[in-house]
């Protein structure tokens, strides 16, 4: 029995105790990663891809039967790990779709697809292991998502990217800052206006006046609008 070096007082501290890990998940990961290594070695002595694929398939089938014999899936008992596994498998799928068209090359002259293929295989093995962990260990349920904040913050970031060229520096900042203020429920109209105004002046002072970034203060859309309305002529200060 090894005594922990010290325990953290207070519950809000990060914990050093490792998360519950299913032995089967560890074994899956270790054997799987070792298999990738062996495959890589076999490939380096020029064994055909079909042999390698057959080996992977055999491994997966074996893993499945071990899992069945070993008590099977106990339902999603550790959602955090389970969904991590699912998401990582999705990422594997995306990368696999991109990998298909890449030439692998030979081992003595690895092509653009060689290293990514090794990484992808490893990620696949780890995703499966994490998935198994999600099914076989107990974990905490997911906590609610702050949808309001999430949508507003990401939305405004996308908005800034989409409008910085068209609206220009100052309008994009004012809108981004103002709407971002609404991400929390504790917002007030006054503080939102004040924040937007202060940020506009502050960012102008640092980024345009201080650092001299080449960003138009008001963008091409506004310029076109002002000209078509007849408010201003062709040359508007700070518009380009």
């Amino acid at each position: 029995m090894i005594r922990p070096i010290f325990k953290f007082p207070g519950a809000n501290m990060a914990s050093t105790t490792s998360k519950p890990t299913s032995p089967l998940a560890v074994i899956t990961a270790v054997i799987g990663a070792a298999l990738i290594g062996v495959l890589f070695y076999l490939r380096s002595i020029e064994v055909g891809w079909y042999v390698l694929l057959a080996l992977i398939a055999a491994y997966l089938v074996a893993a499945f039967f071990v899992l069945r014999r070993d008590g099977g899936f106990g339902g999603v008992s550790n959602p955090k790990d389970f969904y991590t596994g699912i998401l990582l498998l999705g990422a594997c799928g995306v990368f696999a779709a991109g990998l298909v068209e890449l030439p692998l090359g030979r081992v003595a002259r690895p092509g653009p697809g060689f290293f990514p293929l090794m990484l992808l295989s490893l990620l696949f093995i780890f995703s499966i292991a994490i998935l198994i962990n999600g099914l076989r260990t107990k974990g905490e349920a997911l906590t609610p998502v702050p949808w309001r904040g999430l949508i507003i913050i990401t939305g405004m970031t996308v908005f800034f990217g989409a409008t910085i060229k068209g609206l220009g520096f100052i309008p994009a900042i004012v809108v981004t800052a103002f709407v971002s203020c609404l991400a929390t429920r504790h917002w007030t109209l006054v503080s939102a206006f004040a924040t937007a105004a202060i940020l506009a002046v502050f960012s102008w002072a640092i980024f345009i006046w201080g650092l001299g970034l080449p960003i138009a203060l008001c963008g091409s859309w506004l310029r076109a609008l002002l000209i078509s309305l007849g408010v201003a002529g062709e040359s508007i200060p700070f518009c380009y």
Partner: protein, 506 residues
């Protein structure tokens, strides 16, 4: 004896070169601004050192490389000190290494000794920083000349060991951390391959250059953090305390000196390990102080040694971890990954040849580290009152500013709106990762190293004519891999052993 004479003589000449670089009025000014801004942003609750550096990275782009790096190191020290201040005053550690500081530091603050805790932290950090700077001066060239003999296979294995060390020492699930590294490596593959042909771009021209490093780190650690902080909007109260008690009594000074010395030693020794850096040092120093103490029961209740030891170790480790980054080009922790990314943006590729090719840069940075530490001391102690005011700014007023500055910062890197959109996506990813308890730091580490690792891998395979055993045949590479394997086994063994116990129980 000649060797020693050379060693110390070289040290003197190198430092002289470094100080002649760093001590120009301009560079001192940039260092000063860096420390000031770093502390100002780092002290804000919810912004750890990684987020702070990512946020301030763009303002260094306009400077020449030496000044930019000097400013960045200033930002780095400022951010670290700011993080400690937040940890002590509102028990909100921004990163893992200041978790340890928060334990006793916050208790001290509650007892009205916040000033003393902050003073100890600053002095301990300064002393540790000074010692670590000399270590860098002594060891970096030695390591660099040794690294020149490294073969590509050795480099590859060194990176593997770095990853394993980072994962083994991280908290949380090992499997997830491994998966995060591999995912980071894969994301780094997006963009042009070594031969120039596009990879994983799905014919979208925006992907042809790969993802921007600043956008990725700002998304995950800036935007993602904001969404995460919006989850829990409870008010955080800063300790309101008078800071007249800043200057310690003689007894207190006596009490803090031995822990500072020990912490510096431990931190420097552990900091050179890849992956460990500051975190491990702080933990080890804390437990050592507790073991050595005559009153171990006082730890966790506001013991001075519990602040002095870990803070010194933290800073020594953080600084010493510059050695592998500058000489090998391998970041040992996320902060170093960020610094490496910044260097690459300035078209400087760290590696064993940096010391010989760009001595003015190398030694300029090393001496600016010391200057940065010194500035931290003279700047922060008088300004503590101001930093505390910063702490009381409510989060609802802060985050719109962080969002805006993130957006401008990322956009300014290359005036490309796509980078801002990458940041938005990475913010979502960062939040999802937090939600699923996956550490995003290994992902960043993998992303930064990815291309370099592939290069070394490809070169090793070409040099060995496709013989995969090259990684275990070359002695350096083999021993690095062996160390990684042993570390992994030690961590994974308990899980497998539990399986056997369960089997016996049935």
């Amino acid at each position: 004896m000649d060797i020693f004479a050379d060693f110390f003589g070289g040290m003197g000449a190198n430092l002289a070169l470094g100080f002649s670089q760093a001590v120009t009025l301009d560079n001192l000014f940039y260092c000063f601004v860096g420390v000031l801004l770093g502390t100002a942003i780092g002290v804000l609750p919810g912004l750890g050192p990684i987020a702070t550096i990512a946020l301030l990275l763009p303002i260094t782009f306009k400077l020449d490389p030496v000044s930019a790096l000097i400013m960045l190191s200033g930002i780095y020290y400022g951010a670290q000190y700011g993080g400690s201040t937040t940890a002590i005053l509102i028990n909100l550690p921004g990163e893992t290494s200041s978790v340890v500081t928060a334990i006793d530091g916050h208790q001290m603050a509650k007892k009205g000794k916040a000033g003393l805790a902050l003073f100890t932290s600053a002095v301990g950090s300064f002393f540790a920083g000074t010692v670590a700077t000399f270590l860098i001066v002594g060891f970096a060239p030695v390591l660099a000349s040794a690294a020149l003999k490294f073969s590509p296979a050795d480099y590859f294995s060194l990176m593997v060991m770095g990853f394993v060390a980072a994962v083994v020492l991280a908290q949380g699930s090992l499997l997830k951390a491994l998966a995060m590294i591999v995912l980071g490596l894969l994301i780094a593959m997006v963009g042009p391959s070594e031969s120039g042909s596009p990879r994983f771009t799905f014919d979208n021209p925006e992907f042809f250059d790969g993802f921007d490093f600043v956008a990725l780190s700002m998304g995950i650690f800036g935007i993602g953090e904001i969404i995460r902080n919006l989850e829990d909007e409870t008010k955080r109260e800063a300790i309101k305390s008078r800071f007249l008690d800043l200057i310690p009594t003689k007894a207190e000074l006596k009490e803090m000196i031995p822990p500072i010395l020990r912490g510096t030693g431990i931190g420097s020794a552990l900091g050179i390990l890849p992956g460990g850096g500051a975190i491990l040092g702080a933990f080890a120093a804390y437990s050592l102080e507790k073991r050595l103490s005559k009153t171990p029961q006082d730890f966790g209740k506001g013991k001075l040694a519990g602040v002095a030891g870990p803070e010194s170790a933290n800073n020594a480790g953080a600084q010493v971890s510059f050695i592998p980054m500058l000489t090998l080009g391998i970041p040992s922790n996320p902060v170093m990954a960020l610094m490496l990314g910044a260097l690459i943006i300035h078209r400087i590729v760290p590696g064993p040849t940096l010391v010989t090719d760009r001595p003015e840069l190398f030694w300029g940075v090393v001496s600016s580290m010391w200057i940065g530490n010194f500035m931290l001391l003279v700047l922060n102690l008088p300004l503590i009152g101001m930093w505390v005011k910063f702490l009381t700014i409510p989060y609802r007023l802060l985050f719109p500013g962080i969002v805006t500055i993130c957006c401008i910062g990322v956009y300014s890197v290359s005036n490309n709106p796509f980078d801002v959109h990458t940041m938005a996506a990475c913010g979502l990813i960062g939040y999802v990762l937090f939600k699923l308890e996956c550490e995003p730091a290994p992902l960043l580490l993998g992303f930064v190293i990815g291309r370099l690792m592939e290069q070394y891998f490809t070169r090793a395979m070409q040099l060995s004519f496709g013989d995969a055993t090259v990684f275990v045949r070359e002695p350096i590479s083999a021993s690095l891999l062996l160390v990684s394997a042993i570390a992994l086994v030690l961590v994974l063994l308990p899980a497998i052993r539990k399986k056997r116990e369960e089997a016996f129980a049935e």
